[in-house]
């Protein structure tokens, strides 16, 4: 194979979204098919599975292969791609009779509660019935084929990716409807006599032949794009068009005539009882594959210490560089690592796993050391003061931090960052050396509270495996500890623990449990928000106004923090005759205090009349406000991920400088145009999760849930709309050499000399 042919055949590109969709279908089909083997193996023999997989492969070939890459060059190649979408993939998919396997392969609850009501909805069933009517299907297939080949429509698809997608969707969708009557995928049945399939196919073939003949014999190039496209050798655009017609004619007609012949033979042959399906080792093999596929068990307990030492090393480096290095954030480890990378990676870890930062917290390493030294002298025995056993102190600290971050531009003062980290080490060591347990983590640490709130939407939780094992336990090592391992310092008793609030993922309970019954396990994200059961060491949400305040400060703080970096807000600040600190104080006072207070009091007052039982305003606020956590998490994610990707490479020159190499400040980044879409997806997901949590809470607390839900939903809608507006604005590139949005809204490049 020469280099040109090699390059042509290498022209593959996997589009992640489509690939994920196709993989998902194949996965759920295979899962359902395996389940059916023990119940209806005869109805779902191996060929069905193979047909379905072949259909998926045909779709992948049409969409990812060189067929797609060359579709804009050669009409004949484009025709092959369309034939794959209309003549190959749909019948193969339908031969797999995919409905039952996929239904059984999908999560049962999703099918029952999510899809079930729609599938039983009469108007949709009627619509489905109408669309699969053979006359409609034939007309739709033929019309789609003809109309999309009109020069106006075809050119539109060639020039616009979006229209090209629509064209492919029409081709595939109408082809599925068309082949439906021919294949009759089980368990549907023939609506018309079987012999009608023959004229049905012949009519479609007639249309196909007429169109193909037109392509073959027309003496002008139909589509200007192909007339303008570069030609390969002597293969003119007209020859290409004729070849496309030939492809449509011959293979296209064969695709219609073969099933026609099969149906004719079936119709003329005597009926036979289906033969018994020979047993095959394949289902067992596939089952084995599915059962053996398990996520590897990560020895997190062993990873903890090395991770703590790694972060301790980085913290020391940041402190040293912060005090001694250049005082420009982009050039200093204290200006890049903690504000951009640590925050971005932490929120991503919280989204995909859980509170991994608290697990590897370097402050705890130092505090453990300090406690070990001081405990023989009687330190660390005093209980944390009762009046401070709540979240009010961290709420104040978080508000102060957000104010100082913006008001004193902490992100741009490496020495201040270093001082804060140093202060953090001192505070953690001091508090936990004096007081019992993990008082610092539970009642002081603002970073920990941030992670607790974010981890409410995490997909994993440290929890018990089998409740029965805990029911029989009499030692309670998970909370009390034992001779070799301390118990939970945050007083979370595993059998009664629910959700991630206050859990630092320290894994002490995992190590302490003598029955190996505590582990990191997957959970439904945010499901804890609408549980009204009392939680160990936390109680019920509605009895914790301090937790509500924490969620409100962090949620509204997410939007205020991001908004203060965008050009319009900075322009607004410039238009007032106020100092930066005064404007920040007013702005954050509005966002962190006035707005949440006003919004939640109004919402609670409006929702209260519809509550089942009369409770105080503060209890109503506390019950609902917790549900705002996901929309706040969505905004933190959108914001931090933006900075993480746009400033992805900034530590490279900083480390080059630290290690005595010549720093290369002209670095690239992982920023790509689709990043804004990802940010919006985070916002969308947080917003929808908040609405769902509010709805579940309202349904539990109110006989008329809609009226209780709506005032709170308005807050979520406001936050979402504001967040969407913020992400559309040009944002300061903090921690990079690009900074300070100019008046035109485009960031100014700040040179190192500046």
């Amino acid at each position: 194979m020469n280099s040109i042919a090699g390059a042509a055949f290498a022209s593959w590109r996997l589009e992640p979204g489509t690939f994920a969709a196709l993989f998902g279908f194949a996965f759920f089909y295979a899962r359902g098919w395996i389940r059916l083997q023990s119940r209806a193996a005869r109805r779902f023999p191996l060929p069905r599975l193979l047909c379905f997989f072949a259909g998926i492969a045909a779709l992948a070939l049409a969409l990812f292969s060189p067929l797609d890459a060359f579709a804009n060059f050669l009409l004949s190649i484009h025709m092959v791609q369309h034939l794959m979408l209309t003549m190959v993939a749909p019948p193969l998919l339908l031969l797999g009779a995919p409905f039952l396997p996929i239904l059984l392969g999908l999560p049962r609850r999703f099918v029952a509660d999510g899809l079930g009501p729609f599938l039983a909805w009469h108007p949709l069933k009627t619509l489905g019935h109408f669309l699969t009517n053979p006359i409609f299907a034939l007309l739709a297939f033929c019309l789609s084929n003809i109309l999309w080949h009109l020069p106006v429509a075809y050119e539109l698809a060639l020039r616009s990716t979006a229209w090209h997608r629509v064209e492919h969707m029409f081709f595939l969708g109408t082809a599925i409807l068309f082949w439906w009557h021919v294949i009759n995928p089980w368990p549907t049945h023939n609506r018309w006599p079987r012999w009608t399939v023959i004229p049905y196919l012949l009519l479609a073939d007639f249309q196909n032949t007429a169109l193909a003949a037109f392509f073959s014999f027309y003496d002008q190039v139909l589509y200007p794009t192909y007339a303008a496209a570069p030609r390969f050798g002597n293969f003119s655009a007209l020859n290409d068009q004729a070849a496309a017609g030939g492809i449509m004619w011959v293979p296209g007609s064969i695709a219609f005539l073969i099933p026609c012949a099969v149906v004719a033979i079936q119709f003329l042959s005597p009926k036979r009882t289906p033969a018994a399906v020979p047993s095959s080792a394949f289902p067992a093999f596939l089952r084995f594959l599915f059962q053996s596929f398990r996520l590897p068990r990560v020895p997190l307990t062993r990873l903890r210490r090395p991770l703590q030492f790694l972060l301790l090393g980085l913290a020391l480096l940041i402190i040293w560089d912060g005090f001694t290095g250049p005082q420009l954030s982009a050039m200093n480890a204290a200006g890049t690592l903690p504000w951009t990378h640590w925050r971005g990676l932490t929120v991503l870890a919280l989204l995909f796993v859980g509170n991994l930062f608290c697990m590897s917290c370097p402050f705890m390493l130092v505090r453990d050391g300090a406690r070990k030294i001081l405990s023989p002298f009687g330190f660390g025995k005093i209980p944390w003061p009762r009046f401070l056993r709540n979240k009010w102190l961290p709420v104040v600290l978080i508000a102060l931090y957000l104010w100082a971050y913006e008001g004193f531009s902490l992100w741009d003062r490496p020495w201040a960052t270093a001082a804060i980290i140093l202060g953090y080490f001192a505070a953690a060591s001091l508090v936990d050396s004096i007081f019992k347990g993990a008082s610092f983590c539970k009642y002081v640490c603002p970073i920990g509270q941030f992670h607790f709130m974010q981890s409410l939407v995490s997909p994993a939780e440290i929890r018990i495996r089998e409740p029965d094992v805990c029911a029989g336990c009499r030692t309670y090592d998970c909370i009390k500890g034992n001779a070799s391992q301390r118990g939970c310092e945050l007083q979370l008793f595993q059998p009664r623990k629910s959700g991630n609030m206050d859990c630092t993922f320290c894994l002490d309970c995992v190590s302490a449990c003598p029955h190996d019954n505590v582990a990191l396990q997957p959970v439904a994200p945010a499901a804890d928000l609408w549980k009204s059961t009392p939680r160990s060491s936390i109680g019920r949400w509605e009895s914790r106004p301090d937790l509500a305040a924490l969620v409100l400060v962090l949620t509204f703080g997410a939007f205020a923090n991001a908004a203060s970096m965008v050009a319009p807000v900075q322009d607004l600040a410039a238009s007032f005759d106020l100092s930066h600190l005064a404007f920040t104080t007013a702005f954050l006072g509005l966002f962190l205090l006035a707005l949440p207070l006003f919004a939640t009091v109004c919402a609670a007052a409006l929702a209260r009349p519809y509550e089942k039982s009369r409770v105080s305003l503060s209890r109503t606020i506390a019950a609902y406000a917790i549900a705002l956590a996901p929309v706040g998490s969505g905004m933190w994610l959108a914001h931090f991920v933006f900075h993480l990707f746009t400033a992805s490479h900034t530590p490279i020159p900083v480390f080059q400088r630290l290690f005595g190499l010549e720093p290369d400040w002209s670095i690239a980044s992982w920023s790509w145009p689709g990043l804004l879409g990802v940010e919006l997806l985070f916002l969308d997901a947080g917003f929808l999760l908040t609405l769902y949590a509010l709805w579940r809470i309202a349904r539990k607390r109110s006989p008329r849930p809609l009226f209780a839900f709506l005032p709170w939903a308005m807050i979520a809608i406001f936050l979402f709309a504001f967040g969407a507006w913020v992400v559309f604005q040009p944002m300061q590139m903090r921690g990079t050499l690009m900074s300070s949005a100019s008046q035109a809204g485009v960031p100014r490049l700040v040179t190192a000399a500046e």
Binding site: A7, P90, A120, K125, T132, P187, H189, S671, L688
Partner: protein, 220 residues
Amino acid sequence: MVAEMHAHGCLKSVKIKKTTKEQPMEKIKNGPSLAKSSAVRQRRFFGFALLCFFASAAVAFADGGVVLAEQTSGPYHITLFGSPSPLRAGAADISVFLQDAKTGEPILDPSVTVQLQATSGAARDAWLPPCCSMKSDTRPVSATHANAQNKLLYAANLLVASSGPHEIQVRIGKENTAALRAKINIEPPFPPVTAYWAYLAFPPLAIAGFALNQRLRRRR
């Protein structure tokens, strides 16, 4: 063993029952009880919905876009493509196809750079993040096969800072003079709501779907 569907009006109750007696397939397929039951319609609709979802997965990708200019320069025949069509301020894909001017054979070896510069009259636009925070490409950018889906093309992903009249230059190899120069017009970027309508439309659609789901469940 034959599978028999028990439908009670919703899919939650769809179960597969094991029977000891074998029933012929035709009886199940054409049996009057099943034919009339809403469960068959239900499954028909599900099948239809499911497979239409396949259609939504069948997306196409523009590679190369439309031809912006074509020229023969020395031993090369150069075709320049641009995507999206028309080109807009923000991210743009510029592809170059090199052919032997005599034989029409694709040429893959030389290095190719493209440079897009605004000419007088171009307006600087506030384009959407994160592109506005990325460096716009006014210097020569190398176009590579790795950037292209079609490996016969050389592609460069550019950030265009402004709209209005622009000039694009293509250089081949180490030549200082451009092998191809073309004047193109860059359109202003779409407003945010238009550019990202799908992301903004998703929540209302999801809410509508959920509201309908709840209503239907309550009715049942």
